[in-house]
């Protein structure tokens, strides 16, 4: 196990296009780091540079304190799960998992012990003699993971490992990966374009855009203190609403009425003509359902609802609004970059599932103004980001991680190398039930 440090990593292709541009990133020992971004942002390239399948144009890649730029993949001792699993079709599941051990000339009984352990963890025991072609997608995925965990690698690398699975299986494997990572306490780098995976799995998430790092932070910090318009729009589903706004006195004038800002934020946004205010769907509520005590913390406005979507546990309302050309152009660019379809100038608002607000009618909404962010429409920068609060969130996530790893390692079983040996399957089962 080792930390991974990247210093000013650049990847330029033959035509001079920088797929990865000056990326510096420290991944701590045992940390679960997510690389996320829309397609073409360079996240897979970065991962392949870590593992050594892609040459590094300039910069330093340091794994476990050693510069590995010029080392071949096999000398880096990392294990990787590929998007299409890359299982060897001519070998059985057993041999697939044993392959890294066979290459390192491990004695047969040691191979058998470690493969059995790995297959126990991944519940592949009854499939060991089958060929990959006869397995289901989820089983193939687990074989690929088995091949990764069977040896003591310095780190795990995942390249969109769940994107070929259906939604239900994806959720299942996601928790599986998370549990496994905690139990093994191994440094993990995970590439995905799916923000649910990013938010649920990562200790920290690195958001990339066109080969450049936008923000590296815990999921909570990304969500609550995004550094710019891109991160704010990328993280969160349904996405953050962006409304045009101008500052009048100490409040913002928006299509949804005035929004009062505190002094810190007023100072931060002063002096600009046109602003963009970012409000997450859940900062809205049906005004008739808001607690009296909470009411003064926000503002209320009336608007006509275009469409409502009732999902049982929650409800979304769509409210169209007018925006100046500068804002709509910016929003159009943003949605194109995020691979989303054209964003209409409408706000998506999350309201209580019991709300009686109906389509086509005018209704009164309440807006929590404490958490809104204000962006500069030209540069996209978040003007009201509270860096300290953000750092606190990431610090908390780090503490959680340490605690979880300790807990998982004390109660769960360990795979390969940490000397549990045989025996003790039953006892572990009980512990795991307790821990889960």
């Amino acid at each position: 196990m080792a930390s991974i440090e990247m210093k000013n990593i650049v990847k330029q292709y033959g035509d001079g296009y920088p797929a990865v541009n000056d990326v510096s990133l420290d991944i701590a020992d045992g940390e679960f780091m997510i690389l996320v971004g829309p397609s073409g942002c360079g996240k897979s390239t970065l991962l392949r540079m870590i593992v050594g399948l892609e040459d590094i144009t300039s910069g330093d890649m340091i794994i476990g304190g050693k510069r590995v730029n010029d080392l071949a993949p096999r000398d880096r001792n990392l294990s990787m799960v590929f998007q299409n699993y890359a299982l060897y079709p001519h070998m059985t599941v057993y041999e697939n998992i044993a392959f890294p051990l066979r290459l390192s000339k491990t004695p047969d009984d040691e191979v058998r012990r470690r493969v059995t352990e790995a297959s126990d963890v991944l519940e592949l025991k009854e499939h060991l003699e089958r060929k990959p072609a006869n397995l289901s997608g989820g089983q193939r995925q687990r074989v690929a993971m088995g091949r990764a965990i069977v040896r003591q690698a310095e780190a795990f690398l995942f390249d969109e490992p769940l994107s070929n699975l259906d939604a239900k299986l994806r959720g299942q494997m996601r928790t599986e990966i998370s549990r496994l990572q905690r139990r093994l306490g191994i440094t993990t780098v995970y590439v995905t374009h799916d923000q649910t995976e990013a938010m649920t799995l990562g200790d920290r998430v690195c958001v990339l855009r066109k080969g450049k790092i936008q923000q590296v932070a815990s999921p909570r910090e990304l969500y609550e203190q995004p550094v710019n318009l891109f991160v704010a729009g990328f993280i969160g589903s349904p996405p953050m609403n962006f409304l045009p706004a101008t500052l009048e006195g100490d409040s913002l004038s928006t299509p949804f009425g005035p929004i009062r800002l505190d002094e810190r934020r007023v100072a931060a946004v002063r002096g600009r003509d046109l602003l963009m205010v970012g409000i997450r769907p859940e900062y809205f509520e049906d005004a008739s359902l808001v607690d009296e005590a909470k009411m003064p913390l926000g503002s209320t406005f009336r608007a006509r609802v275009d469409v409502t979507e009732w999902l049982g546990d929650s409800q979304y309302a769509y409210i169209p609004y007018e925006a100046p050309e500068a804002i709509t152009a910016q929003l159009r660019d943003l949605s194109r970059e995020l691979d989303a379809e054209e964003i209409r100038t409408q706000a998506i608002v999350s309201i209580d599932a019991t709300s009686r607000i109906r389509e086509g009618r005018e209704a009164e909404f309440w807006l929590d103004s404490r958490k809104v962010h204000v962006f500069d429409p030209q540069t996209g920068d978040n003007l009201t980001r509270d860096a300290e609060a953000g750092a606190r969130l990431t610090q908390m996530a780090e503490e959680d991680r340490v605690e979880q790893v300790e807990h998982a390692q004390n109660s769960g079983q360990t795979v390969s190398g940490q000397g549990t040996g045989g025996g003790g399957g039953g006892a572990h089962g009980a512990h795991r039930a307790g821990a889960a």
Binding site: L53, P73, S79, N84, A86, Y88
Partner: protein
Amino acid sequence: MSSRERTWWIVGGILIVIYALFPIAWIVSLSFKSAADIANGQFLPTTWSTENYSFILTGGASDLFLPALRNSFGICLIATAISCLLAMFAAYAIARLDFPGKTLILSTALAVAIFPVISIVTPLFNVWRQIGLYDTWPGLIIPYLSLTLPISIWTMSAFFREIPWEMEQAAQVDGATTWQAFRKVIVPLAAPGVFTTAIIAFFIAWNDFVYGISLTSTSAARPVPAALGLFSGASQFEDPTGGISAAAVIVTIPVVVLVLLFQRRIVAGLTNGAVKG
């Protein structure tokens, strides 16, 4: 498919099979005719005789035919093995690596393949005599490589291209050297392709006549197709038709056996080089 359509397919199939197999059937029939029967104008022999076979296997033509058979087998197998091995490396490089001159190699291979054999055989004859390769096994193996290598490279690089890159990258991450990844992952996956290529290469070498007749003079290296041309009748007024037919039938047997043995491999190879994992 309606029954009417199916009937037409069957009729068409039978016609094609008859058209393709009729000459072979004729040769088989000729090989069983006795000398007096050969020119009688009938398809089937009046009496079935094996005199032609004994003529080439134990009789007058046996010292011409048997060494030739041995030569043909040896030379073709060696040429096939060498060309497959070389083609495997070349095709791997062409399919996987980016190096300057890649298209040059492929187009040169194609040019060699379409170059008429007859135009190089005379200079080759002179060169071989000068350097002592005339009438030896290597003297035929080398020109056969020039026939089989281009097509082997082309077919095999098509097969290698079908194998997903990730397979090999996964092997490298798992700790394999480039050579180990090639030997343990790529070669087993490419096996059907290698088989198909080997069989095609063997046929090409096996069927060659021009090199065989021009670059050999004794039974030291003369292959079967050349030996067939040198058969002589019992007297100068008799054609060795029966003997040639019998030899032709015998020469066809290994080809048929090969195809039957590896039929599934060949079909799998020709239709489906892709590896689904």
